[in-house]
Symmetry: C2
Subunit: 348 residues, 2 copies
Amino acid sequence: MSDTAVILFNLGGPTAPDTVKPFLFNLFNDRAIIGAPQPVRWLLARLIAGRRAPVAQDIYAHLGGKSPIHEETDAQAAALEAVLRDRLGPASAPSVHVVMRYWGRRAEAVARDLAQRGVRRTVLLPLYPQFSTTTSASSVREWNGAAASAGLGPAAGGICCYPVNAGFIAAMADRIAETLAGHDGDPPRILFSAHGLPEKVIAAGDPYRWQVERTAAALVEALGDAAADSANCYQSRVGPLKWIGPSTADEIRRAGAAGKPVLVAPIAFVSEHSETLVELDIEYRKVAEDAGVPAYLRAPAVGTHPAFIAGLADMVQTVLARGGLEAESGGRLCPADRTGCPLAAGEA
Amino acid sequence: MSDTAVILFNLGGPTAPDTVKPFLFNLFNDRAIIGAPQPVRWLLARLIAGRRAPVAQDIYAHLGGKSPIHEETDAQAAALEAVLRDRLGPASAPSVHVVMRYWGRRAEAVARDLAQRGVRRTVLLPLYPQFSTTTSASSVREWNGAAASAGLGPAAGGICCYPVNAGFIAAMADRIAETLAGHDGDPPRILFSAHGLPEKVIAAGDPYRWQVERTAAALVEALGDAAADSANCYQSRVGPLKWIGPSTADEIRRAGAAGKPVLVAPIAFVSEHSETLVELDIEYRKVAEDAGVPAYLRAPAVGTHPAFIAGLADMVQTVLARGGLEAESGGRLCPADRTGCPLAAGEA
């Protein structure tokens, strides 16, 4: 068995109704989410989790009391592991593991488990195509601490972001095209919807919005005429701060006023969870109805789309190659007939 | 103290007259040097080492019975460690260690020592600017085995080759310019001399010759008019096989026939050892005299030239940065004002 492990990061979510509150507490107790120092953050997290829990429990009640993110992410991990095994052979293919930031398989337990299994090399791959200090950075920071405590040592490498990864874009474009194919009538306006963030986070230098815009632009290019009418917008606003916009709800209302059908495509989530299944499919669909939108379509998240999984595998292989020898120039330097180059056969 | 260590690789050499034979045995018992399987290789190595030892002992007698490569390489390691400490601060600067392939500080002892000191991350940096299966690959292969046995785990990364590294080229050009500055009379023909290899090694795909030619071309460009008359050639041939050419001795004779002074620049050794101090300074100087070469100059190896050490430090920092997070594109993806990008402050 390979001594290399790939770590996929995501938020996690409640696994039962009585885990909604501790999930929310963990979320708001993250200094990447609430900047206040301890013990203020702890107190605030208790307060907000207590206040938000009934609302969130109501949301998760629509999903059987739990978030599907765990099953969805496990399926992605299994698909990625299978592709890597096909490509690299069973002996050298890395195993793939899921670490959830706020609930489910947590960093500490996974790190301890991997150390016991004799894992020597880890590759970090957040399931957030667009980097944010509030998501990817928070996950990687927690993991690095847990890995050090478990004696795992620093990661061999990782990918911070892949907003225009060819596989991700192809998969998302395909999800949108499939959804369009099932629609009769006027071509809809495509709303590329990403989770929002407070404006002050972006003002402090967070690259998330810039990267989300790159994703939307890449999709516009990939979709061609089908995306002739499109907009980038942000969903899921909570709290009293001013968030980045335009909001997805406002964009839906604007389409309603123009009599345009809409197709909402979640471009910053790679699996289904409450933000897609409840917010987009129930709440925003209601907004669309109220606004007189003639048709409301929603593209699925990329999930285990083969192109997306292949794109993840490509990045893992890139990091594994970079973790070995490389020419000063980064990639391969020698001409193709110099087969003795250590990068020729991926042996490095 | 940092848990990161840089490993510099070189050949090593005899440390006393009675170590000449075991040094030669280790050299010829390397399957990268003699391809025969064991136990044939072991027997051949014993035979060749026994036969070559008297000749080699005579060579090393000119150097006080030992190779200066250990002191020269230790000085490079100390200089690199100092530059990294200046750049990164004492807490996060890696320590720098020397591993010799055939004699001196060997991989096994160094790996065990680093594991005991709690080193968690290693960066591999062969002191061979041009990659060869017979040098860099052999050193790295031995190291990887030793590191695994010692429980060190795989390296965080390494540089296989840097034939046109800006610091290396600047340092070597400077060494040549200094040597030219001490010369009166006709401008010499510059002979860029590299250690040769059997032609069959190159035919099998070894990139060494291609990389040596890149180094020579970069030096011609850096030296401008001073290198208007120059040639690339190969020294140190031993054994019955046909080696790559032209040979440095033939190039010296060709210059003698043309009445041209020569300057020999060792471009594939970065420190002084028997190939420079005995072969170039004594044997080939005699060839030059016999051939009627009007002046025979020899540029020193780069040694601890500040530009060379700075170039090594640049590469170490590149590998350390790549060992952390990176964008799918390899380098930084986000615009400069996105200071929350994990690569913005080198925090990754």
